[in-house]
Symmetry: C2
Subunit: 203 residues, 2 copies
C-alpha cells in the first residue's frame, strides 16, 4: 500500500519511515508531499488536534488519490486549561520566522505561568495522527506525553516548547534529550506508532 505523509518536513518523513521499518509493515511505501503537485492545504482552524489532523489527511487523500497520513500537535498546559493547544504555533500572535515565533510563544507561556506554583505546572505534549482514504474512510488517534513546565528554558535540541518541558520521570527538558531519545518516547512517535497498525483498516 502506498501511503502519503501530508508534510513537506523531511524530518517527519524520515521519522515515519524509521517507525515503519522492522514492524512487519514493510509493505507500506511512504511518500511525502514533495513527490506530489501542490494542492490547496486547509488552514488549521479546527477546535481540536483531531479535527486538524483529519482535515489535513482528507485534503491530501482527495488531492492525490492515496491513503494519506497527517498529524497535528501542540502543548496542553493544565493551568491554562489545556491551552495553547491547537494554537500552540501562534500563541503569541506573532508572525515571522519559525524560530522567532517559537521563542515568542515559549516566552509568553512562561510569563503567563510566572505566578503558578510548582504543584500546578503540569503539561503534556499532545499529538493527533490521522489517516484518510480517498473513499472517505478515516482513522484518528491521540497520544499524550505528560510532564511539567520549568521556569527557565534549558537545552538546544527540539523546537517550540521543548526547552521548558520536562517529561514525567525525567529531570532534563525535552530540549536536553538527544533527538533519537525524544523520538523514542514523544507524543508524535506514540501517535504514529498507534496509527500504523490501523492503516490496514484503510488498505
Amino acid at each position: 500500500m502506498k501511503v502519503l505523509l501530508a508534510t513537506r518536513n523531511d524530518a517527519k518523513l524520515a521519522e515515519l519511515r524509521r517507525l515503519v521499518e522492522g514492524r512487519g509493515l514493510e509493505g507500506l511505501e511512504i511518500r511525502g508531499l514533495d513527490d506530489v503537485p501542490e494542492f490547496p492545504e486547509a488552514p488549521e482552524t479546527g477546535a481540536t488536534f483531531e479535527e486538524n489532523a483529519l482535515a489535513k489527511a482528507r485534503d491530501a487523500a482527495a488531492a492525490t488519490g492515496l491513503v494519506a497520513v497527517a498529524d497535528d500537535s501542540g502543548l496542553a498546559v493544565d493551568a491554562l486549561n489545556g491551552m495553547p493547544g491547537v494554537l500552540s504555533a501562534r500563541w503569541s500572535g506573532r508572525g515571522g520566522a519559525r524560530t522567532e515565533r517559537d521563542a515568542a510563544n515559549l516566552a509568553l507561556v512562561l510569563d503567563q505561568m510566572a505566578d503558578v506554583p510548582e504543584d500546578r505546572r503540569g503539561a503534556a505534549f499532545v499529538c493527533a495522527a490521522a489517516a484518510a482514504h480517498p473513499d472517505g474512510r478515516e482513522v484518528v488517534v491521540v497520544e499524550r506525553w505528560p510532564g511539567r513546565l520549568v521556569r527557565s528554558p534549558r537545552g538546544l535540541n527540539g523546537f517550540g516548547y521543548d526547552p521548558a518541558f520536562v517529561p514525567e520521570g525525567e529531570s532534563r527538558t525535552s530540549a536536553e534529550m538527544a533527538p533519537e531519545e525524544k523520538d523514542a518516547v514523544s507524543h508524535r512517535s506514540r501517535a504514529l506508532r498507534a496509527l500504523l497498525p490501523r492503516l490496514s483498516e484503510l488498505g
Copy 2:
C-alpha cells in the same frame, strides 16, 4: 452590620453602596480599605475566581475583624478553554501601567482568536464575589455575563476586554455601553447582587 469591601478602588466602593441602597439592606455600613491600615494582601494565584475572591475576603476579615467582601473577575473565552480566566489581568505577561497592560492583553486575545470562526467566538465575563467573617464562616457566588468577541475593538468606556466583548442580546460592545448601563447587567453587579442577601448568613 459593618462590611468592609476589600478594595482601594473608589468606583467599586460606590457601586456596592448603590447596590445596597433601596434593597432593604440599609443596616449595612460599607467601608473601603482606605479606612483601615495597610495589611499584607494575598497575591492572586488561585486556580479559580472563587479561590482568589475568598482569599482576598479572608485576608481582609482577619486583618480588620470585620465581615469583608471581595471580588475577582475576568474574561473566559470558549475557544481558549475558558482562559484568560484568572490570568486576565496579566495575559500578555507585560508589566507596566494598567492601560498599557489592558491594551496588550486585549491585542493578544484578538490575535489568538484571529483564525477562530464566528460560530466559535463565545466568551463570558465572570465574577466571583466572596464574603468572609473573621470567625471563618464564608460565602462565595459566581456569576457570568455571556456574549462573544468581535474582531476589532470598539468603544471607549469600561476597561480591559470591554472593547471586544458584545453581550448576548446586544450589538454594541460593553465599552460602547454607558457605565450605568453596564453596571446594571454586568458580571460584577450580578455577583454583588447575588452576594448581598447572603451577607445575613454572616451577620
